[in-house]
Structures are given as C-alpha cells and as structure tokens.
Chain length 374, copies 2
Amino acid sequence: MADSISFARGAPSADIVDIEGLKEAAVRAFDADPAGVSGYGTAVGYLPLREAIAQKHGVSADHVVVTNGSMQADAFLFDELVTPGDAVVVERPTYDRTLKGLKERGADVRLIGLQDDGIDVDELRTELEGGLRPTFAHVIPNFQNPGGSTLSLEKRHALLALAAEYGFVIFEDDPYYDVRFTGEALPRMFDLAKEAGPGREGPNPELVVYACSFSKTVCPGIRVGYAVGEPELIKALVARGVGAYISPNMVAQAIVHQFVSGDRYPAALQTVKEALAERSGALGTALKEHLPQATFVQPEGGYFLWVQLPEGEGHDCATIAKEAADRGVQIVKGTDFLLEGGENAFRLAYSAVQTDKVDEGVRRLAEAVEAAKG
Amino acid sequence: MADSISFARGAPSADIVDIEGLKEAAVRAFDADPAGVSGYGTAVGYLPLREAIAQKHGVSADHVVVTNGSMQADAFLFDELVTPGDAVVVERPTYDRTLKGLKERGADVRLIGLQDDGIDVDELRTELEGGLRPTFAHVIPNFQNPGGSTLSLEKRHALLALAAEYGFVIFEDDPYYDVRFTGEALPRMFDLAKEAGPGREGPNPELVVYACSFSKTVCPGIRVGYAVGEPELIKALVARGVGAYISPNMVAQAIVHQFVSGDRYPAALQTVKEALAERSGALGTALKEHLPQATFVQPEGGYFLWVQLPEGEGHDCATIAKEAADRGVQIVKGTDFLLEGGENAFRLAYSAVQTDKVDEGVRRLAEAVEAAKG
C-alpha cells in the first residue's frame, strides 16, 4: 500500500515540536527547583506554573487548577457539575470526547447548531425561551473541533447575556487560542464576563469557567492543561484531583513552566503556527481542486477542517473512511461528532500532515469519496 | 517556634533523589524517542516502559497499564470493580486514601485486623465462613502503610487459598517492594498465583491484580505507577484512562524508563534504601528512649512506622497531633487509617526526616504525648 497519510488525529507532527527546547527546559526545571519538581506537590498543580497562568488571565492563583491535560480538567468539571438528567448544551457538531464524557455522566445532551461564526445563538435562545434550563453550555470558541469555525465577538456577548438571563455557566473550552495563525484574536468570554456587556448590567465572572491546554503550544505528550474559574468551583475540582491522583505531574508542569517562560518559546510557537498555516492552506487548496463539491470553513487557527459533502447524494462517511483507509488515508467520520446525522461529513486534522503530503492525501480521499458512491 | 520536623508525609526528602540522574534521563528520553515522548501516546502508557514492566513481572504487555501514579490505577480499579454495596476487605489500619476511595464509591468496607506478620487470615476466614462475600481484598503486603508490617509467606499462600475458595480478587498494592532495606524479599502473591499452592490445585493468575509505583524508587513528582493483571481487566482500566485523560504523561513515563534502565539507577536506589534504613533505625532507637511505653513494628523497608500507646490510658491522637504541631512536629493521627478506634495510635513517616533530626523530633513528640494527657 502507498504511504500512510493520517488526517485523523489532532496532534502536531514531531518535526514542529521544539525537542531541543524541551530538553533544555527539563534540565532547567530540575536545577531551579529540585525539591518542588521531585516531590508530590499538591493537587492545585505546580505552584510557579499556576501563578504564571493566573497572571496571564488576570486573576489570583486560587482561580486556577493545573491538571494532567485539559481533558482531566473537563472530567473533574463534568463530575462536579453534571447530575444525571441535567440538560447540557454543546455545539452540533462537537468534540467526540466531550459528547462521550457527558453521556457517560447521564447528561441530557442538547446540541445547538454550529455556524461559520460559531454556535447558533438564535437557536439556543429559542430553546431557552421554550423552557430549556441547561446546567452549562460547552463552547469551543476558537477554531472549533471539529468545525474549524470561530465564535464572533457579537455572539460571545450574546452568549454571556443568555447565560446571565437564564442562569447557566459557559464552559469556554479553548485549547487552540494561542495557535491562531491568521486574523485578529477575539477576547475570551472569560475576560468579557469581568465587565458589563450588552444585555448585562455588571460584571458576571461567575458565568464562565475557562479551560486551556499546553498540548498545542508545547506538545501533547507533556499532558498539561488547566481550568480557570471562581475559587469555590476550582476548590471542588482540586478536591477531585486529590481523590484521583494526589497531585498532577510536577515534573511535566515544571518543564512546561520553564519552556513557556524561556527564551526559545516565541520562536517555537511561531514555528507551530507557520506550519499549521501552511498545512491548512494546502489542505484548502487541495480540497478545492480534488473535491470541488465539498464545503468547509477555512480555519484561522487550530488543527481541524470540517468537510461537508452535498446533502441528498447518499454519502456515507463510514464507507468513505473505509475506502480512504484502503488507500492509506485516515479521517474521522462526521457521525462521531454528533448524536445523529453527519453521514455526509468528516473531519480532517491537518496538524500532523506535512505540506508536501497534503495534496496526495486529498487526491486519494477524493478517490475514496468516489468509490464510496458504489 | 523550633525548626519544623515532619513525620507526616510519606515522601522521600529531596536530598536522596538523584536529581542529576533525572536530568540525564530526561535528556536521553527526548533524544531517544522525540515523537513518542512528545506525542499523545495511548492510555496503555509509554510503550517501552510498559514492555519493561511486563518483562519484570514475567507477563506479556497486554497485562500492564501504566498510569499517572498508582493512585490513578487504584481509582480506575475501584471504579471498575466496586458497585455500591459491594463488600470490600481492607486491612485494619490501612492507607487513608484507600478507605476514602472505597467509601466514596459506596463500598461496604470490611476491616480485618493487621498483625505483625500481616493481615489476620484467621479473622478473614471466620468472616468468610460467616457469609462475607467480598468483591476484592485490598492488601499492602510489604511494609504496610501505616502499619509497617510485612505479610508472611505462609499468609500469602493462605490468602490465595481463601481467594480461590471464596471467589474474590486480591488487590496486591505494593508500592514499597523495591525499597526493602533489610531481610529477604518475599514472593509477590501475583507470582505465587501463577503456580499451584497450598489449598489450590492449579495456577490461578486471575486471583491477583498487582499495583506498584515509581514514586518510591524514582520520585513522587514524576507521578508514574502501574497495574498488572489479566488482559481483560487491564483493557477495562485502559478504557477508563482514555475517558479520563486520553493518555497518561508520556514525558514523565519516558524519563522513568530511561532512569530505571540507566547506569545510575542501582546506586540511586541504594542511596534511597540506605537513607531509609538509617532513618527508620534512628526512629526506633529514639522511640525506645523517649517513648518507652509505645509499641511498634520495626519495618524492614518502606516509609512508615505505626506507634501504639498503651490502651486504657485515655490517649487521644488528635490532641497529641495538636500538641506535637505546637512543638513543630507533624504526625498523622491513627484515627485517619480506621473507620473506628485508633485514638491511641499515630503514624510516623521517617522517609523525609534526616537522621540528625529524628531524635529531636521524637523528644518533642514525647513531650506532646505527655502534654496531651492534660
């Protein structure tokens, strides 16, 4: 079979990870704080990193918990907030592990459509007016996974106003914020909530809990993420951390701390962003050439592009994925990101596909789409 | 106040951790396998470390899951095995986090007495004959936490025979195995179960799930532990890992792999064992001098010594702990390791107290015991 080309996993290829920088950061971490790095530490996370994150987000350290990847923060948050039967709003489509985590905890998962500028706020408002009372709304505001779209500023304000009016929390799940490669960064809802805004008379910091990760800016294998929120909620997440693992990985968190505060970091991040820009650009170009019938949002950052084939042509993403695999190309089928529908869609991760492989991958994918028609 | 001397936390002091060795291991880890270390990996753990652990325990890799500390393996195991109301046997006293984890999951926790040579097998047999049907028995066979005692070979066989007869699993929780500093190592129940034994006609590998940790041999901040068991059970634990964190820490696991397979490891481990031997010896001597009324098992390894004051003298460990804290000495009160009783006992961790501080710490502690009498 031809070389394998994987558009499946949302991860950077190793060639854009600053391995030399990580080695240096590891040595500095042990040198700077041998007792702190080698000891148990506490479930709040490695203290110097926690402090740096708090400063970045303009809060005191008691607003921050640093976890073993942001997935672990998600898991603690779901455990803390979801009682079986609770309504929870997510985007349609959304990250498959979010769907899975919520369903496993017995949430009544309510999917609200995703548009090119983010979640359909009108659809959400209609549902709320109709009686929906979610515990929280999970939103991936930047370069959504899998949709690739970014929530507009107007909608960020609108979501906050709805959260304030109907009394739910916004879980702002934002792992891709720092890997924007084009366009202007939009303010986080976490920050907007600190001030009054349209439809809200005063600050409402309690409306947003924010999660982020170093998987995209440092590397996934380091497994460091975090949540920022009101101290009471963070305290509850920390207690769950104590029960699960005593403390998260001090060695890894200290390496992250040294890496992101080190001299090499700006250049390392620039390398990642340039590679992602190039790969996503090549992917868009190749799709237009080989799969002209497909529609997609060209992302301004992040890892993913969501490909939609025309409705009513009987596409079946499972068959397409199989035909693609037979041609050495891995994709994730659209149905994985939804509770129903998605048969005519699939997700492509460009983060790990070197630019010179993109065109060949899409060419084979187009063959697979054709073959899947039977 | 005088210098603080903490006998509270079961952790090594930083001076006996091979920081130079860890730095070198970190550099080797990134050099040897940049893609494997920086990427997500899978929930089974870092593959080369998993393979090394499997070899150490004489099983194939599908018997092993490597986790973020053995606490995480415990948590997954409890989640997998405990249905609310299930009877679970533990030692009396036992590790406070084990008690907590089991109670949180609704287990009917049944404590069986701990003797100088381990769990009271006769008491357990009587309970089983009386109808007790536990899902599993949690046993810390070597240098028990908090008791300090080691399960005799005879009792290891007897436990296996009971497990076979009454159909329960032995959860052999063994983080201290490699930090034995005197006496002969006893075979693991996990290994004994692979062959026939007294009261058992054939091999019963399904009877034991084994957990261990690198916290005691490398350092706690690295947060790497593992479980070994039948592939079906391990697969279920791996699935829980995927849901909780996608994958454990690849960077930390690769550092552990390089560290324990490296040239410096034997000497590093010897340093730890010598320090523990010296500290525990000094603690035993100081107790005999300053608290002659106390009884304890002098451990052959591990971190802990369990101090029992005479019954019927109205001791209250909470007051003793408070009086000790007022004198700059931290201990953990006996009641933390039990569901009832333990007021006349406390746990001393000698792992972090340098030898020249031990005598002074115990002298103050004896004052605290005296003061607590009121």
